[in-house]
């Protein structure tokens, strides 16, 4: 990857919490600035560059103008990383696709002026629905330690891999009480680990904000839910908070 990889950050429809997670690395941001050459990071610095070794993309794609922009970024980037769940799966912004009518969605927010051209939007897309994505860094927000691992591994010439095991693994290592024992429905057994089981560790069921493992056992979950008198619809709705359809990988 040459001397110092040129790294850039871009954001589309998102809350910018993932970039904030990076700013929150504190002293390690200084170390990061030693390791790589941060050439664009609109949130914290002023500057632009013609091309990038690694482009981190935060946010989902919701408009034609953004689609053009991301295609341009892609053409100038060697490695493109989807940073955070909005970019990975469409995330929270994808919830709007649940409403069958986009016009209704617009009306609900902008009232009778919904048709003004600058308010235009189309159904939310994950970044990989528009351009090729080389790596996925899921989570809402991302785990900034995982972000650092990605940067280090790419710098060392390693293609980073995501854990392909469920959140329960990390939950066990934390010695948490399983929320099923407390009568709550947790998506941990289906969800991709890497968050350090942060929600169950704080007493809140996992909502699969990092998507599911490669082969989630949905049938087993359905059986459990039946036992708890939940409907399949309810679990589908739950998984869908972070734009993760269990039928669709990633």
């Amino acid at each position: 990857m040459g001397a110092k990889p040129k790294v850039a950050f871009f954001d589309f429809a998102s809350c910018e919490g993932c970039q904030l997670q990076i700013a929150n690395l504190e002293e390690e941001v200084i170390g990061l600035a030693e390791l790589v050459d941060i050439v664009e990071f609109r949130e914290i610095l002023t500057g632009k560059a013609p091309e990038y070794d690694i482009a981190f993309i935060e946010g989902a794609i919701t408009r034609d103008v953004d689609e053009k922009k991301i295609k341009d970024i892609r053409s100038r980037s060697k490695v493109l990383v989807a940073l955070g769940q909005c970019a990975v799966s469409g995330g929270i912004p994808r919830l709007k696709n649940n409403n069958p009518s986009l016009d209704n969605v617009k009306k609900m927010v902008y009232g009778d002026k919904y048709n003004m051209p600058h308010l235009d939007t189309y159904p939310t897309k994950a970044v990989n629905e528009v351009v090729k994505v080389d790596l996925y860094l899921p989570g809402c927000p991302i785990n900034n330690k995982e972000f650092l691992r990605f940067v280090k591994e790419i710098s060392l010439g390693i293609m980073p891999k995501l854990p392909n095991y469920p959140v329960c693994v990390e939950c066990k290592l934390k010695e948490n009480e399983c929320l099923f024992d407390l009568g709550q429905i947790c998506l941990g057994p289906l969800a991709r680990a890497g968050c350090d089981a942060i929600c169950p560790s704080n007493g809140v069921p996992c909502e699969a904000c990092r998507g599911t493992v490669d082969n989630p056992n949905k049938n087993a979950m359905h059986e459990i839910l039946e036992k708890y008198n939940y409907t399949v619809e309810e679990i589908k709705r739950k998984i869908n908070i972070f734009g993760v359809d269990p039928e669709v990988k990633k």
């Binding site: 066990k172 399983c178 087993a220 979950m221 459990i224």
Partner: protein, 340 residues
């Protein structure tokens, strides 16, 4: 074996003194939510002697979930050095089945190529064992237990109400109790035996354990593997909490400066989907049922043949931890019996 006695109050002040001694970490069972876990004791106030089971077994002190094996400087293979964290520790209140599990772990790490990283930690530990005083619905230790606990314990405690009967099992144990108010035992063998057996297990293994290896081979094609496998999340809970599971992964971590790195060993488990994925991407245990069977074969055939001891100590943790309620060996064997 010398048998002594100590009042519970005296025992607590003995432990408090041990906690204050900074040469040795004193580890006991503490409350975590409505459950229990092993942790470094900060005060004897936190110590729970009356518990059903801990979330994780004591293996976490000897094969930590994440453990540094080597340090190095990237790009320089001559820089590898081996490291170990070899604190002196004492574990208080370890139930007999967890002691028995360490007997198996010790074998696993000492047989053949001796793993000093583990063995040093074991050598530096004092094990104060005890007989459980609380019922645990999933426990079936009595139907599998052999005498292995006494090969690991340095001291065994038996709860007699106001006192503990103290069995001094090893020389290390004898040294450890030095300074405590341990006095002559006044309880009869019968009374002690009764106290040891006071807590009953509801569950028992339905097949004599000597016959299990053979039984499993005979049932290699049994439908239980697929039936239960279909319900399995491959979440690994059952193997992570198991006191006789010691599979691990090894990986390298580098500091942000890329100047220093460590090779770490982390817990892994055969129930996780990618456990047997090879370099070329081929997965030798792709099916959930095959993994499910492998785990049971390891407990019931692999380990017994290697170490001459059943590979499960009957703690019931796996059964308890499994969201699908399929992991417990009792349940598996019963299903096999019922569906011959």
């Amino acid at each position: 074996m010398e048998v002594l006695k100590i009042s519970k109050d005296d025992f607590r002040s003995f432990v408090q003194k041990k906690i204050e001694n900074s040469d040795q970490r004193t580890i006991g069972v503490v409350k975590k939510g409505s459950h229990f876990a092993y942790a470094d004791l900060e005060s004897v106030e936190d110590m729970q002697m009356d518990y059903n089971v801990t979330m994780l077994p004591p293996k976490k002190y000897f094969q930590p979930p994440k453990e540094i094996l080597l340090k190095f400087k990237p790009k320089d293979a001559s820089s590898y050095v081996a490291v170990n964290q070899c604190d002196k520790i004492a574990l208080i209140g370890v139930h007999y089945y967890d002691l028995a599990s360490l007997f198996l772990m010790d074998k696993a790490f000492s047989d053949g190529e001796r793993d000093e990283h583990y063995m040093k930690k074991r050598e530096n530990s004092v094990m104060v064992g005890m007989y459980p005083t609380k019922y645990f619905k999933y426990r079936f230790a009595k139907s599998v237990l052999r005498d292995q606990a006494y090969k690991v314990a340095d001291i065994m405690l038996v709860d007699m109400g106001d006192d503990y009967v103290v069995e001094v099992v090893s020389e290390k144990g004898r040294e450890y109790i030095d300074g405590g108010n341990f006095v002559e035992n006044k309880y009869s063998l019968l009374e002690i035996d009764e106290a040891k057996n006071k807590i009953k297990d509801d569950q028992r293994i339905p097949v004599p354990i000597e016959l299990i290896p053979e039984y499993l081979v005979k049932n290699h094609g049994h439908k239980v593997w697929e039936d239960f496998g279909n319900k399995c999340f491959s979440c690994g809970s059952c193997v992570l909490v198991c006191p006789t599971c010691y599979c691990f992964d090894v990986s390298e971590e580098v500091e942000l400066s890329l100047q220093n790195g460590t090779r770490v060993r982390t817990w892994d488990g055969c129930m996780l989907e990618d456990f047997a994925v090879c370099g070329d991407g081929h997965n030798f245990r792709k099916e959930k049922g095959a993994r499910f069977r492998h785990r049971m074969f390891r407990k019931g055939k692999g380990l017994p043949e290697k170490f001459h001891s059943f590979g499960c100590v009957g703690c019931g943790r796996c059964a308890y931890s499994c969201a699908s309620d399929i992991a417990g060996p009792v349940k598996i064997l019963k299903y096999m019996e019922d569906n011959k």
